[in-house]
């Protein structure tokens, strides 16, 4: 079935792939990894992983999609079966929780249009006696706003609580926005992508310029990029680099295959693959500079300890600067140790603070929101920041949904007379209804489970089978011919070596390492404990009843592989029986097995 519409603009296609690859992980996962794994030294394993694993697998996806001009199911049915449905399921699961994160971002965005920002102060307690809410005072205003006023979170994953209507409304709104952009498939997505892919870059630049002019920013950047080559000896660093590249490029979802299938067959997908992968990595670097300059400013602004010292010892106002703090504290400790011991001093070092800065939702909704509070014109910055996060996530959602819709179109689930709007509407509605479980009070914990266990393993399995399927089952000579047809020359030695040997090996290593990590560390998630006093107020817990769901999520998409194989074997056997019964030999079905 030929595509009746095409992304005839090369710019739209490139932006779509770029928007899909550049997502929330570039903003809140890469800076954290970079900083915990030795700063500038982390770039070494990151670049190696990009060259050996990221770009080759990405190129395969684009090439196969462009040549076969189908979504993931059609592609894998032609080359080596069974994978397409698995990719579809993974895309579906990821869409569910990804859009939930977007709904949280939307909630924060809606709340940013007021001065003062609602997370800047604690609400009064119920009796309005003049004291603030105890939970808020024990943690911090931003944590309270996130955990209580937004999520209204319970203490345990098994305690489901009630549906949060505000979150449900935001979820409905974000699915409505996604539907609006995906309503006619690539036709509407191609128009929306111009805004959603380019707006984040604009905002990042604004934040970069503003962040670099803030006091304390340079210290944050120096801390981020100071290379610590010793950390490279830890194998965990290499594992994290490889997985980060993999998920950052959004491989094995089927989304890139779908986008490439809308290309004219004579497009140079090699150039596209290298371009998009490089721009994605550069965006991660760019974002980490912007993020860390703001974090450095926030750390420099934190002077609770200084105030305590000044008040306790009646020293002149603002007489201790941040740099003098250590010396003054030592002096006081020597002269009046008992008084110093009585003070509730927190550890007050820039590095320690930056180490506590989290990744993921912790970074965006707790740390960064607090940093924004201190910037002059806070509501404007909050609007910009959450607007950027929303558009970033939206462009990734397009890829996810294309990974669902295009295979369904190829499968021919609905009759051709039914318009595309109905299919996309049904998909969005189904996703929205399935995602309502995340609007429960324990929804955030379920999201952590999904994020940690559902996607990673399956994607690695599928990517491994992708590369092996193309390199060995389909055959490298045939694939080289196709590429020569499309781009005008055969793939060079680098591509052939990485496809045949390096990438499968790397993926296998990552898979084994992941299983090992899973087996070693007990299954856990981070819970919110109101009694715990800390910057993020989170503790780890184990969960028992939800273990079954976790295991199911882990392997459900991967189960498609043997399941479909079994079904096809049974169908073939029944067909053979039919032909014997008929007595007339029929033409063998070509290509599909």
């Amino acid at each position: 079935m030929e595509k009746s519409r095409s992304l005839c603009s090369w710019g739209q296609y490139l932006l779509s792939c770029l928007g899909f690859a550049v997502g929330l992980g570039n903003i809140w996962r890469f800076p954290y990894l970079c900083q915990t794994h030795g700063g500038g030294a982390f770039l070494i394993p990151y670049l190696i992983a990009l060259v050996l694993e990221g770009i080759p697998v990405f190129y395969i996806e684009l090439a196969i999609g462009q040549c076969l001009r189908r979504g993931s199911i059609g592609v894998w049915t032609a080359v080596s079966p069974y994978l397409g449905l698995g990719c579809l399921t993974v895309s579906f699961l990821v869409s569910l929780y990804y859009n939930t994160v977007l709904s949280w971002v939307l909630w924060y965005l809606l709340n940013s249009f007021q001065d003062p920002l609602p997370w800047s102060s604690c609400p009064l307690d119920i009796n309005r006696t003049g004291a603030f809410e105890a939970e808020c005072q024990a943690s911090s205003t931003v944590s309270y706003f996130w955990y209580r006023q937004t999520l209204n979170i319970t203490a345990d994953i098994s305690d489901n609580g009630s549906i949060q209507w505000r979150l449900l409304a935001c979820l409905a709104a974000s699915w409505a926005v996604v539907y609006l952009c995906v309503i006619r498939g690539i036709e509407t997505t191609g128009k929306a992508i111009y805004f959603t892919a380019l707006f984040p870059y604009l905002v990042l630049t604004i934040f970069l310029i503003r962040g670099l002019t803030l006091p304390g920013a340079v210290r944050g950047l120096i801390y981020l990029f100071t290379p610590n080559v010793q950390t490279l000896r830890n194998p965990r660093v290499w594992l994290d680099a490889a997985t980060q590249i993999f998920f950052s490029l959004s491989l094995a979802f089927g989304g890139h295959i779908a986008f490439a299938s809308y290309n004219p067959p004579r497009n140079n997908c090699e150039k596209d693959a290298v371009t998009v992968a490089l721009v994605n990595s550069l965006t991660s670097l760019y974002a980490s500079i912007a993020v860390f300059s703001v974090l450095g400013f926030k750390a420099a602004n934190d002077h609770g300890n200084l105030l305590r010292l000044l008040n306790a010892f009646d020293l002149p106002d603002q007489s201790i600067s941040r740099d003098d703090y250590a010396a003054v504290l030592a002096h006081l400790n020597a002269t009046q140790p008992e008084s110093v011991a009585r003070l509730p001093l927190e550890v007050c070092q820039l590095e320690d603070f930056l180490d506590k800065s989290a990744s993921g939702t912790g970074l965006a909704f707790v740390v960064f929101t607090e940093a924004v509070l201190h910037m002059p014109g806070a509501p404007g910055w909050a609007v910009l920041f959450f607007g950027m996060l929303f558009t970033l996530g939206l462009s990734s959602m397009f890829g996810n949904l294309e990974g669902i819709i295009t295979p369904l179109l190829d499968l021919g689930v609905l009759r051709r007379s039914v318009p595309k709007e109905v299919l996309t509407g049904l998909v969005c509605l189904l996703c929205f209804l399935s995602a309502t479980c995340f609007a429960l009070q324990s929804g955030s914990y379920w999201l952590q489970v999904f994020d940690s266990y559902a996607a990673p393993l399956n994607l690695i399995i599928f990517a491994f089978f992708e590369v092996v399927g193309i390199a060995y089952v389909y055959g490298m000579p045939r694939f080289s011919d196709d590429i020569a047809c499309m781009t005008g020359r055969r793939p060079g030695l680098y591509w052939r070596v990485t496809w045949k040997v390096v990438s499968p090996l790397l993926l296998l290593t990552i898979f084994v390492a992941y299983i090992a990590v899973l087996a070693w560390t007990p299954l856990s998630y981070r819970a919110w404990d109101p009694q715990y006093v800390g910057p993020l107020g989170a503790t780890g817990s184990h969960f028992g009843p939800a273990l079954a769901t976790c295991v199911l999520l882990c392997f459900l998409p991967a189960l498609w592989v043997p399941a479909v194989a079994l079904v096809q074997q049974l169908a073939k056997r029944r067909q053979k029986q039919d032909t014997w019964q008929d007595g007339c030999p029929k033409l063998q079905e070509g290509g599909a097995s």
Binding site: R5, T77, N111, A172
Partner: protein, 222 residues
Amino acid sequence: MLCLLFFLVTAVGAELCQPDAENAFKVRLSIRTALGDKAYAWDTNEEYLFKAMVAFSMRKVPNRETTEISHVLLCNVTQRVSFWFVVTDPSKNHTLPAVEIQSAIRMNRNRINSAFFLNDQTLEFLKIPSTLAPPTDPTMPIWMIIFSVIFCIVIVAVMLLIFSGIRQRRRKSKGPSEVDDTEDKCENMITIENGIPCDPLDTKGGHINDVFMTEDERLTPL
């Protein structure tokens, strides 16, 4: 004699005003934090103003209209700037109860703050909590307003797209000759390329071999 009396008075005064004495309050100012470069130095004149403001606050309390500046005693002034103060009665023998002073200061907190260009956070009366403004609960939270606006826009846009799609399909079903321009462009691109059309992975199951098709046409049905 007079010297002795003077010493006695100051001694009594010193006893009345001591850190953690009964009915004494500690005050802490953060002038440089509040004013930055425009900070003024804290000297005895500023202390006089402070005493005057406290006396003014006490005079507003019924039964205490006769409070004088000399009734307000300051002590233990530090570099921070912080000090303790008490308010004595006209006999200067004992201090006024803390509750009265507390309520008087709370009533006039704004006037005291503005006299020194400070606010509740930079002019702290420890143990005297500030009166908080009543919470402004708008009838409709702001986020709901913006949410409704966005949601309405999205719904309208979706409806427009759906209706335009229906209209397009109706027009297409009426006039089948109307070919899509974009489709044409893409088709042209392929032919203009002038190469072998790239379709090696044709996976239509059950190939229709052209040779056989022409043969079929030749054979006329009986």
